[in-house]
């Protein structure tokens, strides 16, 4: 499978581990990631909060490039980029006049023909292959799937999963050999774009998410969004401050979880770049299997 790859700004910077793990798992899963040449930023929150036309035109430029470069599907592993690309695509498909207007602004041919997929959707569809390739099932480690906002909303844009009770990431975690955790806050908002500008809100919202995952028995959280990741990882220390003890919940990209399941090298998956240490979690899930009666023992350990 060949996909047009739209890394977005974060995957080249704060979310490098996302890109590293994604590239690492691509080969074993028969996915070819071809970066869209000369892509530009999707505009993120700042564009749609200030100028609607800009918030459509910036993603449209990238979609037009992908179209010209011969891709029929674009993967946007960052949930925020995915939401902007998919929203623009959705709106342009609905509104022919807008499509013409945007094509004129872009000064390039554009038919809005390219599909946009999220990381959760892609990996869910690859779940059978993940299950088949999984070299080192995660020993049943309890992982909470965190969708946040942008993977499942707006519902008319996303639509690959249920907006309130989604299950695609759980399917991926299970395929990689982990045990998905049932918890309450998987579609809550972490504060997203306020990470820098209104840190207090992010701390409040993120803390509630982490506490609930912890209460549900999660040993790690899997995310599909670099913004969620940086909020929950980088600011976890601050979120723990009012609590009796640090939360200590590693925040992994979904691609990293899959990579661990496929038995790939943790360093290659970027697991050394996290603020909340992933060491003990990685050590646990990569522990050499006990000689006999392995499944039962592992289960006991987890329980």
């Amino acid at each position: 499978m060949k996909l047009g790859y739209f890394p977005g700004c974060s995957l080249h910077a704060t979310a490098r581990e996302c890109e590293e793990s994604l590239r690492a798992i691509a080969a074993p899963l028969d996915v070819e990631l071809a970066e869209i040449d000369d892509w530009a930023c999707c505009g993120a929150t700042s564009a749609h909060a200030t100028n609607h036309l800009l918030s459509v035109a910036l993603p449209a430029r990238t979609l037009a490039l992908a179209e010209r470069q011969g891709f029929d599907t674009v993967l946007a592993p960052c949930a925020a980029c995915y939401a902007r690309l998919a929203s623009a695509r959705h709106e342009l498909a609905k509104d022919k006049a807008l499509l013409e207007r945007v094509a004129a602004i872009l000064e390039r041919p554009f038919t809005n023909a390219v599909k946009v997929v999220s990381i959760a959707e892609l990996l869910r569809d690859l779940a059978p292959k993940i299950r088949e390739q999984a070299k080192r099932p995660l020993g049943g480690a309890r992982v909470a799937a965190y969708y946040g906002c942008l993977l499942v909303r707006p519902t008319e844009v996303s639509g690959f999963d249920d907006a309130e009770q989604p299950s695609s990431m759980e399917a991926v975690i299970a395929a990689a050999g982990g045990t998905p955790v049932e918890w309450r806050r998987k579609v809550d908002c972490c504060g997203a774009g306020f990470s820098l500008s209104r840190t207090g809100s992010v701390i409040r919202l993120g803390r509630a998410i982490l506490e609930d995952a912890k209460k549900a028995g999660a040993e790690a959280i899997a995310v599909g969004c670099p913004m969620c990741h940086s909020n929950l990882d980088l600011r976890q220390k601050a979120m723990s401050r009012t609590l009796p003890e640090p939360l200590g919940l590693p925040i992994l990209f979904l691609s990293q979880v899959v990579g661990l399941g496929l038995g790939l090298d943790p360093q290659a998956l970027g697991l050394g770049r996290h603020f909340v240490g992933t060491g003990s979690f990685v050590a646990k899930v990569t522990a050499p299997p006990a000689p006999a009666e392995k499944p039962a023992e592992t289960k006991q350990e987890v329980a």
Binding site: D162, A163, E164, Q165, R184
Partner: protein, 672 residues
């Protein structure tokens, strides 16, 4: 027809503003064949009608055109006046120059010109009208009532008490409907079963009511006064005439873990069962899906399992006869009273365009129940004998949160209408709960309280003021299971603050929906229904219990969400309509029906295929010696409803619809 009178109405000031009525009369007077044309202030008034009668007599008129309001308003009035003047009423037509002209145009010359056009067109049509005689058809003075809930029971009893026979068909094993499941009823808090069961017994014992429970309407043929109804009597697996309702079979059945429909899934029943102790008829049915022996018989096994019930039945009533039987009944009128079902918040009904509530857990949280389940929990005859115990662990809930408008008034989930009864029953639930658990908390999330009805507003106020129900105005965003509580995340729009409540039990006032399969039944009956499957009444104000098919009436919640008093009132109204219909051995109807010209009919029977009523029949034409010459179409004037589709379909122009014949329509077009 050469002596037509044209009568132009001013309708007080209504017409005069934009249409010059005198000018319309003047212009009409010049039309060939018009012998008389006048205008008058109110043609529909007594003096106005007297003018028509006088003109007919004096000017020897043989046709009347009244240029005034819509024929839907006063066609009957003026046809009666025309008949009173000694002219066939179908030689009177109306030109609609009010609704279709003066009320919608501003430009006086243009509107006047249009009014003249309209009148001329009608005059030309009228010249081709033929005198018609009303059709008289015999009436089978028995009624069919479909549905044995409170509406059906009431309709059946009223008709039977009025002296006419009734066939009452109920789909389930017992009559009683949803009302039999209720604990208490608003706004009096009297016990539902205490007032209902005597009525159920009355039905059973009534000499003029034939009760066919566990039965469904299979096919309907015929027309007002003359319906033939085929009814499927579903196999109970036992002989009703031998069973005395002792209940031993039920007690002996080893299969006891089947969720009880009557207890809304909260209680259990056996595979051979009577749905509830007061059931009418008090005769069990065998549940084909769960009875091991029945399944064995269906599979054709040699060695059959169980048979405990067979052993204990002292009367040999249990036969395991699995064949459905069919009976045919002839009736003159039908009352549809099939009731409702409740909206479910899961995803099972996506095919119906209903989305379910993911934010409320799609029905997977055990301590989130619906209003009917709460009724069963609160009912003395319920699975907990009236002790309030929540489903998950049997604990008595200390805090109950009630959510109104779940599924109702929620276009995003597929239903935009108000279910009407929920405001009242939620208030009732809070009272029942607070009467049982004095220190418990009853919180209601509502959007508006709609308590229009006698004693209704007072009832809701009592729940709030005397019984301490806490009403919070706002919809709930999310329900989550958190340990052993259900977390309710809401907002109080009146104080402007978020509200989070940890509830032991959450009760959803889910929407009332039409019954599943109602579309199929409606099609059998040729009655129309709205996009939610509620049966359409003939007129929302003036003909609320009639349908658009003559002789078929509607009562209760199958027409729209209804409470008990409304359903009963509708049922009595429908019954009185039925009795009115039955007050004569024959009935008269408008002769707007199709007629076949047998001389030109080629016998292609396209007309027969397009007729929605089965009114077209094959008729053999024979010579004097009895040799078959040809087969032609023939219209049963009693069955024909007068849509005219046959006429437009006929390739040989051999069908004419009386009152709307081709010559009449072409004359109207030619006058354009």
């Amino acid at each position: 027809m050469s002596r037509i009178g044209v009568f132009v109405c001013h309708c007080g000031e209504n017409l005069g503003r934009t249409v010059d009525a005198a000018e319309v009369a003047r212009a009409s007077g010049t039309l060939p064949g018009v012998a008389h044309a006048i205008d008058y202030k109110y043609m529909c008034s007594d003096p106005g009608q007297a003018l028509i009668k006088q003109a007919v007599a004096e000017k020897k008129l043989d046709g009347v055109v009244v240029a005034a309001c819509s024929p839907h308003m006063h066609e009957k009035t003026f046809r009666r006046a025309t008949a009173g003047a000694g002219v066939n009423p179908f030689l009177c037509e109306m030109a609609n120059i009010r609704e279709h002209c003066s009320w919608i145009h501003e430009n006086r010359p243009a509107a006047t010109a249009k009014a003249i056009d309209i009148t001329r067109s009608i005059v030309e049509k009228l010249k081709r009208n033929a005198p018609l005689e009303p059709i008289r058809i015999p009436v089978e003075r028995r009624a069919l009532v479909i549905g044995g809930g409170i509406a059906g029971i009431q309709a059946a009893l009223d008709i039977a008490d009025g002296g006419r026979e009734v066939v009452l068909v109920e789909k389930g094993p017992s009559i009683g409907g949803h009302m039999s499941q209720l604990s208490e009823t608003f706004p009096t808090l009297d016990c539902s079963q205490c007032i209902l069961t005597p009525r159920m017994v009355e039905v059973y014992q009534h000499p003029r009511i034939k009760l066919l429970a566990y039965s469904e309407v299979e096919a309907v043929e015929g027309y007002i006064g003359n319906f033939t109804v085929k009814i499927r009597r579903k196999a109970r697996g036992l002989d009703e005439t031998k069973c005395n309702g002792c209940g031993q079979c039920q007690a002996s059945c080893p299969q006891k873990k089947i969720p009880s429909e009557f207890d809304a899934g909260l209680g259990k029943r056996s595979a051979i069962y009577v749905p509830f102790p007061q059931a009418v008829p008090n005769i069990p049915v065998i549940d084909a899906r769960h009875c091991a022996r029945w399944k064995g018989i269906v599979k054709g096994l040699k060695k059959l399992a169980c048979g405990k019930c067979l052993e204990v039945c002292g009367r040999g009533a249990i036969t395991f006869d699995l064949e459905d039987k069919f009976v045919t009944e002839k009736v003159g009128a039908v009352v549809v009273a099939t009731g409702f079902q409740l909206y479910e918040i899961g995803r099972d009904h996506e095919a119906d365009g209903l989305k379910g509530y993911g934010e409320y857990g799609y029905g997977k949280i055990p301590d989130v129940i619906d209003g009917l389940q709460f009724e069963r929990l609160a009912s003395a005859s319920g699975p907990t004998a009236g002790k309030l115990q929540r489903p998950s662990d049997g604990k008595e809930p200390r805090t109950i949160v009630f959510l109104q408008c779940v599924g109702s008034r929620d276009p995003a989930k597929g239903i935009e209408y108000c279910s009407k009864i929920c405001c009242m029953y939620v208030a009732k639930h809070t009272m029942l709960y607070r009467h049982k658990v004095h220190d418990g908390r009853a919180v209601v999330f509502y959007m508006d309280v709609r308590a229009g009805g006698k004693g209704y507003e007072e009832f809701v106020r009592r729940a709030i003021e005397e019984d301490g129900a806490e009403y919070i105005r706002g919809r709930v965003s999310r329900l989550e299971r958190d340990g052993d509580v259900v977390r309710v995340q809401g907002f109080d729009t009146l104080s402007g603050e978020p509200v989070t409540i940890d509830a032991d039990l959450v009760v959803l006032a889910t929407a009332m929906r039409s019954q599943p399969g109602i579309e199929t039944l409606a099609q059998k009956l040729s009655v129309s229904y709205d996009r939610h499957g509620f049966i359409n009444e003939a007129h929302p104000k003036l003909r609320p219990v009639e349908t658009n098919t003559a002789g078929i009436f509607v009562a209760g919640a199958c027409q729209a969400p209804r409470d008990i008093p409304d359903s009963v009132a509708m049922a009595s109204a429908a019954a009185s309509k039925v009795l009115g219909l039955f007050s004569n051995a024959e009935l008269e109807r408008e002769p707007i029906v199709a007629r076949v010209d047998e001389a030109t009919c080629a016998g292609c029977f396209h007309c027969l295929r397009v007729c929605a009523y089965g009114a077209v029949e094959r008729k053999e034409i024979r010579d004097k010696k009895g040799n078959l010459i040809k087969v032609v179409a023939s219209v049963n004037r009693g069955v024909c409803q007068g849509c005219g589709t046959c006429q437009a379909t006929c390739p040989g122009k051999s069908v004419e619809l009386e009152g709307f014949t081709d010559p009449q329509i072409y004359a109207a077009i030619n006058a354009f």
